[in-house]
Symmetry: C2
Subunit: 418 residues, 2 copies
């Protein structure tokens, strides 16, 4: 399976058209509204932020997908520059109107459009501009519009994030294409929509839209998305701050002649593997383009008593400002790594702890080794840094991706004014 990060991933999937337009939501005048249309009604799955202050578009999509019989979806409209978060009942109406306007502009039935927003919190959407943008996007939809759509959803992102994979085997023929955005306020904690009768569920801004021409029922699609997100988007962090708007949506339209992918089939195994790869590629692209990042950091904790504890340990290291500034400074300061994991509330026996930086072992059985500091520093100056911590207690393993913490992060976030 070969993941391609080439532009236009979403429209490389047969049966999808897209557009990206500028409607004045970004002061810079750059593209700020994306529209993706599926030529065929598609099953849909979604995972949403677990932040209590869920933004209006999150509430809107959740309600649609949590229905006992969720509708088939035809389009997704996404704006950047304004998150429509903390905007109360009026904001919810605005999210709903974005869906209605899109349906009208495209001649679609009601409840066939999903909505995503990203940008500043606490301001009403300028709905006149949004409406104008949606109509302009509807006019310019094309099978080569994926790249513009991927650019239109960016905020502080320096580069668009796209991933595409095509499976062409006797067990399955389908493609999956995805686009994502996210650079700051990245610490996704995503969960499937609460069912309407479920417990009240306290529900990261990264946005992602993945489309496929595979034929998959909505429940099977949701399970596949949950599984893929658990080890990809839910395993990245830039700054530890979970957004009010984080959303991942997955559409599966089914080709005319496609066989339905059912659980426990070889085709399902292929679909899950492909989806995992797309999600992991996009998640890593987000971590690599984290605000102010100079390098991608991959932290693997193994030997934990459970995968849950391995993930918790890895995330504690990944969110430690002292670890992240040491990496920015290319300093193999292993003491900061152990100190971070030592506060993570997981089972640890200091005497059984091994630590590696790439292939260089820094700590063995809790004792510092006399390692080659110059080699370690050189490794930390590479664009990708790999840290591996073996707790020596069990078989729990998890990998988390993050970036370093630089002067630029401070600049971006202290000199940005609401």
């Amino acid at each position: 399976m070969r993941i391609e990060a080439s532009p236009g991933a979403v429209t490389r999937v047969p049966g999808y058209r897209a557009a990206g337009v500028a409607c004045g939501l970004k002061q810079s005048g750059q593209l700020d509204l994306a529209l993706v249309l599926s030529d065929h009604p598609a099953t849909a799955a979604g995972v949403f932020t677990t932040n209590v202050f869920r933004a209006a578009p999150v509430l809107y999509d959740e309600a649609l997908l949590a229905r006992e019989h969720p509708p088939l979806v035809r389009a997704v409209v996404i704006n950047a520059g304004n998150a429509n978060a903390c905007t109360g009942a009026a904001g919810l109406q605005d999210a709903e109107r974005m869906a209605r306007i899109t349906e009208e502009a495209l001649g679609l039935p009601r409840d066939t459009v999903l909505v995503m927003s990203t940008g500043v919190i606490g301001h009403r959407l300028p709905m006149d501009r949004v409406e104008q943008g949606i109509y302009a996007a509807a006019q310019s939809l094309s099978t080569s519009g994926g790249a513009a759509a991927a650019r239109a959803i960016m905020t502080t992102d320096l580069v668009p994030k796209e991933a595409y994979v095509r499976i062409d085997s006797e067990n399955g023929r389908f493609s999956i294409g995805g686009m994502a955005k996210g650079s700051g306020m990245i610490h996704p904690a995503l969960a499937r929509p609460a069912s309407p009768t479920g417990n009240p569920y306290p529900h990261a801004t990264m946005l992602c839209l993945i489309v496929s021409d595979a034929r998959v029922s909505a429940p099977v699609l949701q399970d596949a998305l949950d599984a893929a997100v658990a080890r990809s988007f839910n395993r990245i962090t830039v700054d530890g701050d979970t957004s009010t708007n984080d959303t991942v949506l997955l559409l599966a339209s089914g080709q005319e002649n496609a066989t339905e992918i059912t659980p426990d089939s070889e085709a399902h195994r292929l679909f899950q593997a492909a989806l995992n790869e797309v999600c992991t590629s996009l998640a890593k692209q987000i971590a690599r383009d984290g605000e102010g990042a100079t390098r991608l950091v991959e932290i693997t904790v193994c030997g934990a008593i459970s995968e849950f504890e391995a993930e918790r340990a890895a995330k504690t290291i990944a969110t430690s400002p002292l670890v992240k500034t040491a990496i920015f400074g290319a300093d193999p300061n292993w003491g900061r790594i152990l100190a971070a994991v030592g506060r993570s509330n997981v089972h640890i026996d200091p005497q059984r702890t091994d630590l590696w930086l790439g292939p260089v072992q820094l700590v063995a059985a809790g004792t510092p080794l006399d390692f080659d500091v110059h080699a370690a520093r050189a490794m930390l100056r590479q664009p990708e840094v790999a840290i591996r911590l073996d707790l020596g207690l069990g078989s729990g393993t998890a990998t988390v991706w993050t970036c370093d913490l630089s002067y630029k992060y401070i600049e971006i976030n202290a000199e940005y004014h609401t």
Copy 2:
């Protein structure tokens, strides 16, 4: 009760002598070893980091204070420049030797000295220099040595931290003086020593030594320290990173004619109040002098369903890089504050959430107000910033102190090399 931050707090308490010397542990040649002697055997209490990688001096002191019959203490020796952490069995021997050398230099019985260390992790202490330093300090002990001792324990601290209070009423006559250090790796999570038969307890670098001439039994002293620390040192954060060495020690020597302070007495109430004030003063001094800090930030969460949840909510805001950089940039970006508390896993009803910056209300019932942005910005440029969040659900309240996140923090931590 008037807290004084004037120099020499520890030796303003009758019956204590102190010294600060330079023995070559800091490359700068500055003072790096402090010694405090109580003329009378003192009861002692301590709280220690809950980081799993507890440093050797922490393990040493814990073992002493966790004895069924803990010894009376005569002196505390503290070095800066080397944390004696992650140094294995040899490090533990070094910590023990620091105690033995101090006992020898002062002619004290065995097990009457407590030890604290702060500095770089993972390097053995140069015991020859330490020994020389202890003897030099023992020679220069004086009733005016408190200020030098407070300087000798500093690492990246820009200023020494001291606090002194004297109670002189018919219900109690005593004084309490304390010194503390800490600027980075500050997120204390302190707990009393595990008793030898207790559960294995997974146990932040701030150090603090508080001395008093009050007469208090060790168990009562420990309870008083636990109560004071819970709402002071355990309520500050600079970077969210809990150290391997955090320690607070409290000695009570008892004046010749002092009446013992027993629980439920008016004298006890006075002692607890005075100790709380000293701990809070020192804790705030640490937050204000956090690495790169340009301002002290006080975050109060009220209306939570419990004090525990109020504290968790306040700490989540206090550790949010997006909130801290916004404060550095003097930007009243309330959306970041709500987003942070929204991921804190406490009970929240967005519609009942009120937010204030000083006296300016930014959010009412979850809805942004049309506040005076210039006034808010001006407030954020003051040396002290107060944020108050009312969750509107219960009576749980907690105040946490932190600082902003600036370019200087990155410089200190990325350009520091092990």
